[in-house]
């Protein structure tokens, strides 16, 4: 069984392109449980990278490592070529504002209404007048297809799809250069899934952001991906095998000879046998 080549990196003869985010041989443990091992992954500027894999393979952990919400236990996480571990806390907090993060369950602040949720980052990061903040909030809500009339509602009063879109508006409020989406369509009906997929494409088109989408929803993969990377659970990796077992286009993923990739892309059952040694 062969491992398809990962992103080979820039042509040695071409000008060096600094990737917004890259992971180099990254590992992450929680106590005795190893979730990531030898994960090498680069995100090209302007692309939409979709990370797929079975539940528990470390997709969400990968996303949190990219924004430094978690620290790697081994390896390097780099922002534009600079190791994040070498940055001070203040530098890290400042650089983190380049990222927008859409959490799996939206993570809206329960005690704040929609307006205060979307305005939260604006209040923290820059001195803006109330009028400026109000204008930005309304603009972001309209961008995600919501009426400003919901500003006074609390998150508990919103549907799942509306909460997801408010969370997206909040993430976009600070004009991020890199958007990270953690299972953006989980728990949504097919219609709302399509809406969210379209919004991800619109955000990319309007703002030229780099996007990383973690999902196991194949409709999202087909709709938004420029490139797909598949992670395999650590417990099923061979001793020296990198955790990113596939990197390529959507078409290449569907045509992959790797039985693990094929099983995932075709939505088949997860049982498979691997050769050892």
């Amino acid at each position: 069984m062969s491992t398809l080549a990962l992103n080979p990196g820039p042509d040695p003869g071409s000008p060096t392109v600094v990737e917004p985010v890259s992971l180099r041989a990254v590992g992450r443990r929680f106590g005795s449980q190893e979730v990531l091992r030898n994960l090498t992954l680069s995100v090209r500027s302007g692309e939409t990278l979709v990370v797929i894999g079975e539940s528990g393979c470390g997709k969400s952990v990968t996303l949190k490592l990219m924004i430094s919400l978690l620290d790697a236990t081994s390896g390097e996480v780099c922002w534009e070529g600079h190791d994040v571990a070498g940055l001070s806390r203040a530098e890290r907090d400042r650089h983190r504002l380049r990222f927008g993060y859409l959490f799996q369950n939206s993570a809206l602040f329960d005690s704040f209404d929609v307006f205060e949720n979307v305005a939260y980052g604006l209040r923290e990061s820059a001195d803006r007048s109330e009028a400026e903040i109000g204008a930005v909030v309304v603009e972001r809500l309209e961008e995600v297809g919501l009426d400003a009339g919901i500003c006074s509602k609390k998150p508990a009063e919103l549907s799942g799809g509306m909460r997801k879109r408010v969370a997206l508006a909040r993430a976009l409020a600070l004009e991020p250069a890199v958007m990270l989406y953690d299972e953006p369509t989980t728990g949504l009906d097919p219609v709302m899934t399509g809406v969210i997929n379209r919004l991800i494409c619109q955000v990319r088109g309007r703002r030229s952001v780099t996007s990383v989408v973690v999902t196991h929803d194949l409709s999202t993969v087909r709709a938004v991906a420029d490139r797909v990377v598949m992670l395999e659970p650590v417990s099923r990796l061979a001793p020296d095998e990198p955790q990113a077992i596939f990197s390529g286009t959507v078409a290449e993923a569907f045509a992959s000879n790797d039985s693990r990739v094929a099983a995932f892309m075709q939505g088949g059952d997860a049982s498979w046998e691997r050769e050892v040694g």
């Binding site: 949190k64 983190r96 927008g100 993060y101 939260y120 691997r274």
Partner: protein, 279 residues
């Protein structure tokens, strides 16, 4: 094709004891770093005024009913339990001194803090724990804010500043409750009740109670917020955080009561050696 079998390692009781000790030491270190981080944010951060005022309202105004009930019953119970002994000696008018010294120096601060650890502390731990498991704390970091500054500092300030105020409320209603019960139900002479109280309750007693309550308030806030921030996943984790927060706060209150009492009494004797012992 072959399959790989995995055998679980077995740990002896010594291994498990060692792991438990290491875990506890790590927790103490973790808590200490957390507390230092909170104190650092107190100096450098700027909590949102609206959040601070709302928190102070919940901690302060919201706790008045339970503190009043606690204080009144403490005073009346002290009167009930102390009266017979004093009556046997023909010294029932002195019961006011015992009730009021006990209230202001010990029972008022400790029982009020214990009640607040249950009401305010557990609620804080549960609220922050829920925020942890729903990734709201991560969202705060992702939006460029410091969660300790935004969430912990307002709660710490509210408890640190208001629990002493609530202790004063508890002491006051306890004194009134003890007086009312003693004079109305136990027929103690009111004039002598207050005369003996004035003779025995000193400024040092009042100050001791208030100093303790300041430390109790800080401890309740730090313990509750720490357990909320380090909550494990799921409803069970949130419930456990609230429960453990109360238990640890209660133990901290008792430990602080002992050590602060020892420190303050020793300091008093060193500062005023010519005054008679209070014991």
């Amino acid at each position: 094709m072959s399959t790989v079998s995995v055998s679980r390692p077995t740990f002896s009781p010594i291994h498990r004891l060692g792991a438990l000790v290491l875990d506890r030491v790590e927790s103490v270190g973790d808590f200490s770093l957390f507390a230092i981080g909170v104190l650092g944010q107190l100096v450098s951060g700027r909590p949102r005024r609206r959040v601070l005022l709302e928190t102070m309202y919940v901690v302060g105004v919201g706790s008045i009913p339970v503190v009043v009930v606690t204080g009144v019953f403490i005073g009346m119970v002290l009167a009930v339990q102390g009266y017979d002994s004093f009556h046997h000696l023909g010294m029932e008018t002195r019961i006011g001194s015992v009730i009021n010294v006990s209230l202001v120096k010990e029972l008022g601060p400790v029982l009020a803090a214990t009640m607040l650890a249950g009401r305010v502390g557990s609620a804080m731990a549960a609220e922050l724990g829920t925020m942890r498991v729903t990734e709201q704390i991560d969202a705060i970091r992702a939006l460029g804010a410091n969660p300790v500054g935004q969430l912990v500092v307002p709660r710490f300030l509210a408890c640190f500043l208001l629990i002493p105020v609530l202790t004063i409320v508890a002491d006051t209603v306890g004194i009134v409750g003890g007086w009312l019960f003693s004079t109305q139900a136990l027929d103690v002479n009111s004039h002598f009740y207050w005369a003996h109280s004035r003779a025995f309750v000193t400024a040092f007693d009042v100050a001791t109670g208030l100093i303790k309550s300041v430390f109790f308030g800080g401890a309740i806030a730090l313990v509750a917020c720490y357990h909320g921030f380090h909550c494990r996943a799921g409803a069970k984790g949130v419930g456990r955080a609230a429960t453990v927060s109360f238990v640890v706060s209660f133990v901290a209150i008792l430990a602080l009561d002992f050590f602060l009492g020892l420190l303050l009494n020793t300091s008093y004797r060193l500062a005023y050696p010519q005054l008679p012992s209070l014991l």
